[in-house]
Symmetry: C2
Subunit: 305 residues, 2 copies
Amino acid sequence: MSQIYERVALIGLGLIASSIAHAARRAGVAGEIVGYARSAETRGIAREIELCDRITETMQDAVEGADLVILCVPVGVMGDVAKEIAPHLADGATVSDVGSTKRAVIAAVQPHMPGHIHFIPAHPVAGTEQSGPRSGFETLFDNRWCLLTPLPDTSDAKLETFTQFWRALGSNVDFMDPDHHDLVLAVTSHAPHLIAYTMVGVADDLSRVTDSEVVKYSAAGFRDFTRIAASDPTMWRDVFLTNKDATLEILGRFTEELFALQRAIRTGDGEHLHDYFTRTRAIRRGVIEAGQDTDAPDFGRGGPN
Amino acid sequence: MSQIYERVALIGLGLIASSIAHAARRAGVAGEIVGYARSAETRGIAREIELCDRITETMQDAVEGADLVILCVPVGVMGDVAKEIAPHLADGATVSDVGSTKRAVIAAVQPHMPGHIHFIPAHPVAGTEQSGPRSGFETLFDNRWCLLTPLPDTSDAKLETFTQFWRALGSNVDFMDPDHHDLVLAVTSHAPHLIAYTMVGVADDLSRVTDSEVVKYSAAGFRDFTRIAASDPTMWRDVFLTNKDATLEILGRFTEELFALQRAIRTGDGEHLHDYFTRTRAIRRGVIEAGQDTDAPDFGRGGPN
């Protein structure tokens, strides 16, 4: 793969930024990778593990001369970061982000962008429950989807270049309207996370069942929820606060459906339960056929192979 | 390991029974392993893969002469199976089961057991989303917990022997009161399964988001739910119908908590959300420290190592 950008600046050095650094290096698409994180500790770790070619002490230094700047910070601070870097951006640079919600990020970032800048909002749909500069790895985006929600006046040439960049990191790329993005992700990510957080919180809070029991007998389903509920609290707080409407809509549908199943349990309607549980199997097959999950039983956790 | 039982009969040849067969063979604890399944197709597969030493055409033939009989059928048919095998059980045999609920199984099975039989209810807390005779594997129970809920008049000697059997299969063994078992499992298994089924059902049923979108962007959390929601529909229907009270109690607590978090989202109470999400991380650490899950990010799905 040949170079796509001369200098890529990563603002924020968590799981996604550090994975971008590794994947961009693997692909050879960036002449130089520059990184900045607000926390001195994070910058220190990033230098120690040589995550980027250069770690700067200020945000300004990081973005100067970069032809691609990617904001990899929690959604709630995107606006402040955009405002701070705006005067220092190189002429004609592309600015992007990796936020899990798109309408709020656009509203926060776009007003600060000078006319010469090309802002292309993006969301790589990939991750793990880990966070921080050590958590990234070069294969994170392989065969996952990166959703771009370009604005109406985005230059075709800049968009094409940026699309090539994400493909070079291993991603498939799709384009979507920001509102639709937020609704789709409310279903496939935001609501499931809130539900997992809730279930783990309930288990932690029962007086008649001890935490030790919850932990010991977690292999029967619960442990999958604990993985999701171990995700970064700041990131997820911001996701819910900035995708309020879509998340609440899906949670409303969820509660309605849950009540219907609870009623079926209470009234002993086995047929309703069986039909429902049969239907949901098909979605799993789709996920595996689309290459979005392993088909090894139990995610291959010490399984047959 | 030396032989513990001369002949072990497995009634039903799904995931758990086939894993018992493999693990018992690995441990050399059974002189002979005999299997029976109601479906001719399942019996045919079991013979083809040489799952047991012998597959019988009738339930009666399977249990005759067995000093251990394990009922590995859905909870809803345990009573019928117990009734059918009762007259054919060997004198002094131990009968057990692997049902995910215990109070209902005891109520259904115990009345049919002749006085010379030792009925020891059991629940190996392990599994995958797969089912059928091909899905078993010898390591399924390694370092998982098998919960025994012995009845008040159970013979100490028979209980000790049966405990040794489960330990030989790789399990840790704990003892519990049946009602408490049903409550603990409602938290760690039954409620999480119903919630996962519900979430997958909702996603499948939205008119504004296509199934193809749900599948493509599932890597952001949803795909973990699809694994759980791919579990055997008959088994799970029976679990909910036979652990109604505890499941509904936990779902009630879950809904209460979910409403509180929804309110926090609606009112923009970021502190409440952040505190809640921070607390749930600790439980994940507990699960990993107890050896009940892998610490590889994202369950090791194509991760860094």
